[in-house]
Symmetry: D2
């Protein structure tokens, strides 16, 4: 399963009172990873919203924190598809420190596909389906999501 | 000229790598001050957008930083009108630390009134004009804004 | 089990491109809830750091997103202790919209107790232990944490 | 005077309720520009703090907002030295939208040099002085700063 990588250098503003990357900020790194994953696969999120008239709100997110990221560190954000169904999508992320190579955080984010006008659940647009069929062809990994 | 006060307790997430409130975060405190100023004067910003169909984008902001705010400090955000014209509005803010009473920052934020549909400059809505006439009646303080 | 409540009014800056509270921002609301929970129980987090020389870094966080919070909404942040051991602490949070009463998000945050100097795991300080014994006396809820 | 450029792609989380980059967020882009300016000139800010034992807190910041940045836009952050003295430093920034080439914001940020231990003003470290003498050799531009 192809995995993608985005990078982000930690700024002064990202640090918290403990001197490390704030725990909520990891979810912004996950967002960065997702958006770049889609772009690399030929599917710009902005276009999904504007041309396909759908949005992908987050339904569930979680994160395990391993070793902290510090000021000026470069975060490597690895992203891959964990599971998907006709109307949902689950990304996994692994964040590493570029300098030390240590794993800093592991997380997953589940998105639902929703029509922009009605805010009701709807099927993933064809352009996104095609990407998923190509990238995760061995069958939709529904099990994990169904268990919830 | 009536002055209003909002409060905000500094969170872990607001702190930067120097152990003090991040310099960009003061502009969010100013926002908090503006919104509460309007609410106290009977003019909810959300209603201005939804009922009057205008928005008030920021045209200029500046801030002098005096003494830092630290984690768990309570910021007192004093807000007053510095100047206004038919289509613009300038707020001043003074942020103090509740515990020490020291001035932490002084700033101004200039807003323009813009129609939500056309994004073109438009006159301040009547409901906001009335507030300004009541609060700063001695004459519109256009001078300061014109100099720019 | 006593439950505490903090409030926060959603600012312009908290909103994302979908027009709702950004998903990562909920973790800052959880922080707000934790800090106020501790304060109400007589245990200021700043003092834990400065006097007890410990920090409480987050080990795991998760959040279920139900209905979105919008600009100017007041978030009610309900917080309670889900479980604790001699060296860890797990908070639960439920965020509601004050106006509609609807549940917006449910989440948990697990913290570990770490010595400030060595950054090694250490026992929860006595002052915090006493609070937990008083608030969740029926026995330490270790089970849930051990399963992980 | 050499000018440097950093880039940043606008995320969902950066957007405010008006659908554009939040006005306080520009100061984080300025930070990004400053840090990269220093790095390009061979002077890593993290080293200044750790090896030279100084910090550079912001004394004054201001920003003119011209045209908004939107979700997924790439911001080009141009940065140059506006002025400096033995103990202060003033950066200028111009932010453009990569796609349209339009100027989005113009701003300046003044930093003071402060000893890490005493928090008292101190001279810029030699390594930074050398950079400034090389980059802005025609004489220290004290005038602008003195006027304040």
């Amino acid at each position: 399963m192809p995995e993608h990588q985005a990078t982000y250098r930690i700024l002064y503003r990202d640090i918290d009172s403990m001197g490390v990357l704030y725990y909520g900020r990891y979810l912004a790194l996950f967002e960065m990873g997702r958006v770049e994953w889609l772009r690399t696969e030929g599917c710009r999120y902005r276009d999904l919203e504007q041309e396909q008239q759908i949005i992908l709100p987050v339904r569930h997110a979680e994160c395990d924190y391993r070793t902290p990221l510090k000021y000026d560190d470069i975060a490597l954000i690895h992203t891959w598809i964990e599971a998907w169904t006709g109307t949902t999508l689950k990304f996994s992320h692994r964040i590493e420190c570029a300098e030390t190579g240590r794993i800093c955080a592991l997380g997953t984010v589940e998105l639902a596909c929703v029509a922009k006008s009605s805010h009701r659940p709807t099927r993933l647009p064809e352009i996104l389906n095609e990407v998923l069929m190509r990238v995760v062809p061995q069958k939709r990994l529904r099990k994990r999501l169904k268990q919830k």
